[in-house]
Symmetry: C2
Subunit: 278 residues, 2 copies
Amino acid sequence: MAKNSKAEQFRALHAGPRLLVLPNAWDFASALLLERAGFNALATTSAGIGYTFGYPIGQAMPRQEMLSVIHRMAERLSVPLSADMEAGYGDSPQQVAETTRLTAEAGAVGINIEDRTYRQDQPLIEIQEAADRVRAACEAARPFGMFVNARTDVYWLGGTGEAAFAHTVQRANTFREAGADCLFVPGVKDPQVIRRLVAEIDGPLNILAGLGSPNTAELEAMGVRRVTFGATMARAAYAALEQAAAELATAGTYGFMSSGSAHADMNRLLRRHPDPKS
Amino acid sequence: MAKNSKAEQFRALHAGPRLLVLPNAWDFASALLLERAGFNALATTSAGIGYTFGYPIGQAMPRQEMLSVIHRMAERLSVPLSADMEAGYGDSPQQVAETTRLTAEAGAVGINIEDRTYRQDQPLIEIQEAADRVRAACEAARPFGMFVNARTDVYWLGGTGEAAFAHTVQRANTFREAGADCLFVPGVKDPQVIRRLVAEIDGPLNILAGLGSPNTAELEAMGVRRVTFGATMARAAYAALEQAAAELATAGTYGFMSSGSAHADMNRLLRRHPDPKS
């Protein structure tokens, strides 16, 4: 019931014409604070979660550990949560389906699946194989009403020009035919290219924002349906730690303490979301 | 060998006359970034670790989960790590001893044990019982060369004036007689009181820095041996997230991204510390 309605809620947020601004949490406190900031839904960042546990990107973090983090957030958030599961943790469509089912069971109502191998010799999964994986994820997601966001990394891995554009559109539309609910194209900031992607891709488009990307109002005006932020918010937080550490190491002062929420405030926030196990 | 030398190294950092500036990490990335900032040793913050997993303070986080976080950091840091284990997770000195042994086995070379119950009716553990727990921790720590920091919360829980001063000194000196290597008195910022604590407590003094506390040079001049920061660095990091979220929610812009380390930099940092299991 609650889970179902979250899935429907999340799907509806992609129906347009409004842009879904979907910030990415990397741990429990970041999720609660983003929820408190008023966003309608949250995503995870696998890279940011990896930072907190000491794993680099590329499915170095074991699937079960990743699912525990997602479960912990999903169980206690009021808003829908979408999970970044990298390339679906599997060598086959069956394994991607299993990952999708486990992610839904962990409480996420959306999932990202990317077409990347993390191998130097062949960085992208071959298009038909990638489509088979998206199809498997969509079939596994259906009983849960889970929303599948298929990501293609042609631009993200350095692709440029018309060849990258055509390759991206081909992959996105193939993934759409395979059942994807939304298409995620990270690595594009140029407004002209974004407009053309909106026009050529047969489904809702998710853009990754970076420094220099069009702002959220501009993305909405272009017809983009969803914007996400990867690990940039996590890195902004760690940057504040680095500034605090530099102040402490050089001046020996505590100016960094003037910006934080009080401990009592954090504890109230944690207690307002009582652990269902206790 | 490595573990032993870290324990000796950590103990030597308390020998004076220099102040040990010991910042508190709350997850793996914060530990790596603090190490990179050049500190000689690190501590954990149980409150901050609780934030990331969704537990309020007061041993709400299961001991085994806390130990996993500590193990993950200790295993991959080059500098010594001291673990905040709240009141030692136990109703008896035997249980505190077990917690101490498990913490040493997780790779920490220092441990904090506090004299707090987290109950409203009797917030402090009775002094002889608290001393028995410190003694049990010290006996369990000895085979590992682990450094025991005994904390008394008389001031932290709101004590003031001469009664609090006398009570704090009595507890600290009783814990010192029970074997504590260092005495931790959070909740004191007044330079006069800090100087009198240095004079009256028969062992190295650890002060918790807060806004308005004497800076590190001043603490060193007063004879304080160690300064820690609790969850204040974690809260400064989450404050940066809240600022990023506010910018995104109101202006729809991404200025917060200009301060963070690059993703490539974070991944290099993670890869420079390869997981020994892989």
